[in-house]
């Protein structure tokens, strides 16, 4: 078949528990958790005081002192991941026509870390409504407009094709990669750096989830705070991080002898048009996204060997998602392993979708399903195989990853082993 297809040839990861794909995959397959008391700021006045933080030193990861000083934390994550992904791919970008090389970076809350810090400095800790621009940092405009994330990755890598940030809340990490895949498939680009980054462990973002009681209030046992699908879960645990991929057109990746982790065979997004934070219990829009993604991948429900769940660990999500998996996969839903890596690395908002794609690509590579950590007793209304506690070897040819977020966005992506006849 002649249609253009997009494959993953390089992966970069900054995640709680470790930088790089090796540390990431070892954490996930060991079933270890990276959730801990918040150390990035003094969270003692907050309801939820646990998070999955990254131990990240920008200069040690190869950024310049200037980048370390002026870029928002999430922009730094994205830049480091892009470097890793390019190195991993072995692609010599000077061989790519620059206008056929693009960048899409997802982010839910953009440079909110930098924006909050700078606001405090300019406003006398929030006391002055009217702030003066005279003492403002020169790069403050880059914090305001998160297209700066994609721009920075493009400048560093030499991409001169379509460059954009995609910001659809908690599905940004799937949608940004889906957008990049569409550009390759339609023939606009040959190579994309695509992924997502968020660094939301900041007072304002912790407070905004506190105020709606979406995050867990259980602060005494941080390692076990993120419990998707468990009867005793109390809400999600905030995380941070990034993942960026080198995506290439399949034929040219083959020709240069690239290592191919997998093909992004299908993607779809739908909206529930129901509520900004609420979900319809039947999961019909997420199910529709999954069905369309499978249909674009020309894959039957029974071709799905693993479902990487959104699995945020809120009661509403876990039940909504369980219903959606059943609606999309039918009887096969009961036979397929379903797990949530948020149990280990928390929910990094827009970034998590790309971190989950990375987990899926590595699962295809290693033929191992990462577990749902901390799952002791499943919610009786969640009756699928959630791969509790321990990773599992399995034959994996097709995997489905799901995302669901504020604003009603519901996204699904299908990855498959490279070279599958479609």
């Amino acid at each position: 078949m002649s249609a253009r297809r997009a494959v993953i040839t390089g992966i970069g990861v900054v995640a709680p528990g470790g930088i790089g794909t090796k540390a990431f995959w070892s954490l996930l397959t060991d079933g270890r958790t990276a959730t801990r008391p918040i150390s990035l700021f003094d969270a003692s006045d907050f309801r939820s005081r646990v998070a999955a933080e990254c131990d990240f030193d920008a200069e040690a990861e190869g950024l310049t002192a200037l980048e370390a000083r002026t870029l928002d934390r999430a922009a730094q994550f994205a830049a480091v991941c892009a470097d890793q992904a390019l190195a991993d791919s072995g692609l010599d970008v000077t061989t790519v026509r620059p206008h056929r090389f693009g960048v899409t970076i997802g982010s839910a809350v953009g440079a909110s870390t930098g924006l909050e810090n700078e606001y405090l400095a300019l406003s006398q800790h929030g006391r002055n409504w009217v702030v003066d621009s005279a003492p403002a940092a020169e790069r403050l405009r880059e914090h305001l407009v998160p297209s700066s994330f994609a721009a920075h990755v493009a400048r560093r890598s030499g991409a001169q094709g379509p460059v954009a940030t995609v910001s659809t809340g908690c599905t940004s990490g799937l949608d940004a990669v889906g957008h990049a895949v569409a550009l390759i498939e339609e023939g606009t680009t040959d190579v994309m750096l695509a992924g997502a980054s968020d660094a939301p462990i900041t007072p304002i973002t912790v407070a905004c989830f506190d105020s709606i009681k979406a995050t867990t209030p259980e602060n005494d046992d941080p390692e076990h705070a993120s419990r998707p699908f468990d009867r005793d879960r109390k809400g999600f645990v905030l995380g941070e991080g990034a993942a960026v991929f080198v995506l290439e057109e399949y034929g040219s990746a083959l020709r240069r002898g690239a290592h191919i982790y997998g093909e992004i065979a299908g993607f779809a997004t739908r909206s529930n048009a129901y509520h900004m934070t609420g979900l319809r219990p039947d999961g019909r829009e997420l199910a529709e996204a999954a069905r369309v993604a499978l249909s674009r991948a020309r894959m039957a429900a029974t071709g799905v060997d693993y479902v990487n769940a959104h699995g945020s660990g809120t009661k509403q999500n876990d039940r909504h998602e369980t219903a959606a998996v059943k609606a999309a996969l039918g009887r096969h839903a009961y036979d397929v392993p379903v797990s949530s890596i948020k149990s280990m690395i928390g929910h990094s908002l827009g970034a998590i979708g790309s971190l989950e794609i990375a987990a899926c690509a590595l699962a295809l590579e290693h033929q191992v399903v990462p577990p749902t950590a901390n799952l002791r007793t499943a919610d009786p209304e969640c009756d699928l195989d959630y791969v509790p506690v321990t990773a599992r070897e399995a034959r994996l040819d097709g995997v489905l990853t799901l995302g669901s977020g504020f604003g009603g966005f519901q996204s699904a992506m299908v990855l498959s082993k490279p070279g599958r006849a479609a």
């Binding site: 253009r4 809350v109 006391r127 621009s133 405009r141 940030t165 304002i204 604003g407």
Partner: protein, 426 residues
């Protein structure tokens, strides 16, 4: 120095041959601008050269930015139910009003009569900076009153996806929704994404961009890179392509458009077909490439995508940065593509300020109104440019002209370039 990138190095996003050649038709317009509350008012004021740039009135600025294009609250608030007002920033409220107007204009105000399944309708907007005023208020509250005082709506009002999410709920649109951020270029990229999802089977997309960057903190952020005008005379504050250029004036507003797949649109006997989104391309500036080469590549590829020779372009809605070096780069691009003074060029944004994510969609809306009425709206400058000016800039009075093809350009801070080609649809 002439630019060296040939437009042919960018392949147009024209799709695989096997994809159906669905056309994206603009069938409804909703707009808000500093110089008007609705489409016909804005259009009349733009043709008359009436500016909406004035001293900032929503607060008393301490910093050096004194002028902006503010949208009056009356222009949009009544369209927003009180419950929704509490949950949303001004930016989303403006988009609600404009989206209502766009659907009404398309003859689709009544949700019950829309001939589309909810999964076949989508919302794709651009946002540059999210819910600024709401976000600043909650940041202040957090740090002066404590985390318990932060609004329960902060998580859904501040983030960049708020507008698309609220519009999808308000209008019951469940198709492939999206949010694109590419600063001022993002508004055009959102329209391109709308066309992309129409090609993959969606019937209708509500698309465009809106921006409200005039909270004190957001304005401070914008001013930080040294390109915003500090002038105090509204008539001399934003002078693109002019020797007196001192930067750009930020403004509020934008446009939300109804874009429909052509077969579906024609089968429902749409009230208007304003024009066709015929071509698009986006590029990013390499720091080492000659200034303007990225914009030239984008414009050339968008024309190629549309299958239009430069000689057939009847008007260019310029990016018009108002910053000398960027204006010079754009002049070189237009000269290279069209020859010296080879095409009428206009920048009605001299009357609204630059609207970031809203700017491109507003220019697209004005361009299709120009097609409808056979008239090019003017660029407002203090004096007629000299006859030796390198651009055929339409200034002073509107210019009568048959317009079948228009090119709209936008550049975003950091190196983003986007170009859209619009053609008349019959």
């Amino acid at each position: 120095m002439s630019t060296t990138v040939s437009e042919s190095t960018v392949q147009a996003g024209s799709g695989c041959p096997e994809q159906p050649a669905a056309e994206a038709l603009i069938t409804g317009i909703g707009m808000l601008a500093p110089n008007g509350a609705h489409t016909e008012e804005i259009w009349a004021n733009v043709l008359a050269g009436r500016t909406g740039i004035r001293p900032v009135s929503r607060f008393r600025p301490k910093g050096p930015v004194r002028l902006a294009g503010e949208v009056a609250d009356d222009a949009f608030l009544q369209a927003v139910p009180s419950r929704l007002r509490a949950q949303t920033d001004r930016w989303t409220q403006m988009a609600v009003a404009a989206s209502d107007a766009a659907l009404e204009d398309a003859g689709l105000a009544d949700a019950g009569t829309r001939p589309y399944d909810p999964f076949d309708m989508a919302v794709i907007t651009a946002s540059s900076s999210g819910g600024n005023e709401f976000g600043q208020r909650e940041l202040s509250r957090l740090w002066t009153e404590g985390p318990q005082r932060v609004s329960v709506y902060q998580s859904i009002a501040w983030f960049y996806a708020a507008t698309t999410g609220q519009l999808s709920i308000r209008h019951g649109m469940q198709g492939p929704c999206g949010v694109v951020v590419a600063d001022q270029a993002g508004g055009l990229d959102a329209l391109a994404q709308a066309r992309r999802v129409l090609r993959s089977g969606t019937g209708l997309v509500l698309t465009g961009g809106m921006e409200a960057p005039l909270s004190p903190y957001a304005l401070t952020c914008l001013d930080s890179d040294g390109t915003v005008s500090h002038a105090t005379d509204p008539a001399r504050a934003y002078l693109p392509f002019h020797e007196g250029a001192t930067g750009w004036v930020p403004g509020e507003g934008g446009a939300i458009l109804v874009v429909e797949e052509s077969t579906a649109a024609r089968s429902r006997a749409v009230p208007h077909v304003y024009g066709r989104l015929a071509g698009h391309a986006a590029t990013f500036d390499s720091p080492s490439a000659p200034p303007g080469s990225g914009l030239l590549a984008a414009a050339g590829a968008a024309l190629e995508d549309a299958g239009v020779e430069p000689s057939r372009v009847d008007v260019v809605f310029a990016d018009a940065a108002g910053v000398r070096s960027q204006d010079e780069a754009e002049i070189r691009v237009l000269t290279e593509l069209f020859g010296p003074r080879g095409v009428p060029v206009t920048a009605p944004k001299t009357m609204t300020g630059r609207l970031n994510a809203g700017g491109g969609p507003l220019d697209v809306a004005l361009a299709v109104l120009a097609m409808r009425d056979g008239v090019i709206p003017p660029t407002v400058l203090p004096a007629e440019p000299a006859p030796t000016h390198p651009l055929d800039l339409v200034t002073g009075r509107p210019r009568t002209a048959a317009i079948r093809t228009a090119l709209v350009l936008a550049r975003g801070a950091g190196g983003f370039n986007s170009a859209v080609v619009l053609t008349q649809a019959y």
